[in-house]
């Protein structure tokens, strides 16, 4: 719609249309990357029973926001594998990060996808 700025009237219809088209495209990029992070985390997750690997899930449209997605696991020990812990008997330090490596591997592709939206 036309917008008045000082003594000028700026016709923002083209800009409004661009913005309208931008959100669904950005949402698609967010969802694509979120599922790629989920896949990457599943590949990297340590596995013995596969409980951790099978629990990794993605929620898109998080809290109703099409530009937010979360990738999470649903076992209590996932965070300990990610950040490290001391074994309760031996005291040995153990760490098997899987989520942040997956996120960082996807980061360049996500940034590229977002940059493409503005070209």
């Amino acid at each position: 719609m036309p917008t008045r700025a000082g003594g000028f009237e700026v016709d923002t219809r083209k800009l409004d249309k661009l913005l309208q088209e931008l959100e669904p495209k950005a949402s698609r990029a967010v969802r694509t990357s979120a599922f790629a992070v989920e896949a990457g985390a599943k590949v990297r997750a340590p596995h013995e029973t596969y409980a951790l690997r099978n629990s990794i899930k993605t929620k898109t449209n998080y809290e109703g926001d099409p530009l937010r997605a979360i990738v999470h696991d649903e076992v209590g020990y996932g965070i300990y594998q990610e950040l490290g812990f001391h074994h309760y008997i031996s005291g040995q330090f153990i760490q098997n990060p899987f989520m942040i490596p997956a996120l960082e591997a996807e980061r360049p592709k996500f940034e590229k996808a977002m940059r493409r939206l503005f070209k």
């Binding site: 950040l83 490290g84 812990f85 001391h86 008997i89 005291g91 330090f93 942040i100 960082e104």
Partner: protein, 136 residues
């Protein structure tokens, strides 16, 4: 490159006397693997993620390192170690052999504890540091 970065991290952290004064010894700084039975307090750092940027013809790395202190004394003790780590790393330049370190910044803070079956608690405090390198 991992070896060079690990060497630079070790040199930087072990060179900070205000940090090593808080640790069990001046060598209580470990890259990923902590020797069994190592005395507390100590520092652990590891490559948490990242890799090549592949956005320019020259080779660039964009890496996330998780650096934290562990203590059996208290959360405050772990926090003091973390504060010294932060002083040594955030906004500083590492000497990484064969690479130019043009970005070192803390991105997130983490702290927690592990209650052990023998009644002891292991406290930790640290952060994720983004380190960007350009092949020199």
């Amino acid at each position: 490159m991992i070896n060079e970065l690990a060497g630079a991290m070790y040199t930087r952290l072990s060179g900070g006397t205000a940090l090593t004064d808080l640790l069990a010894s001046t060598t209580s700084i470990y890259h990923g693997r902590v020797p069994d039975g190592a005395s507390f307090p100590y520092v652990v750092f590891n490559l948490q993620g990242g890799g090549d940027e592949n956005i320019v013809p020259s080779r660039m790395k964009n890496l996330v390192l998780y650096v934290r202190g562990y203590s059996k004394t208290s959360q405050a003790s772990a926090g003091s170690i973390d504060a010294q780590i932060d002083t040594l790393l955030h906004g500083q330049t590492l000497s990484v052999s064969g690479w130019v370190n043009f970005w070192t910044a803390r991105e997130s803070d983490l702290s927690g504890f592990e209650p052990m079956p023998n009644g002891e608690t292991i406290w930790n405090a640290g952060g994720m540091y983004r380190i960007r390198l350009d092949k020199s």
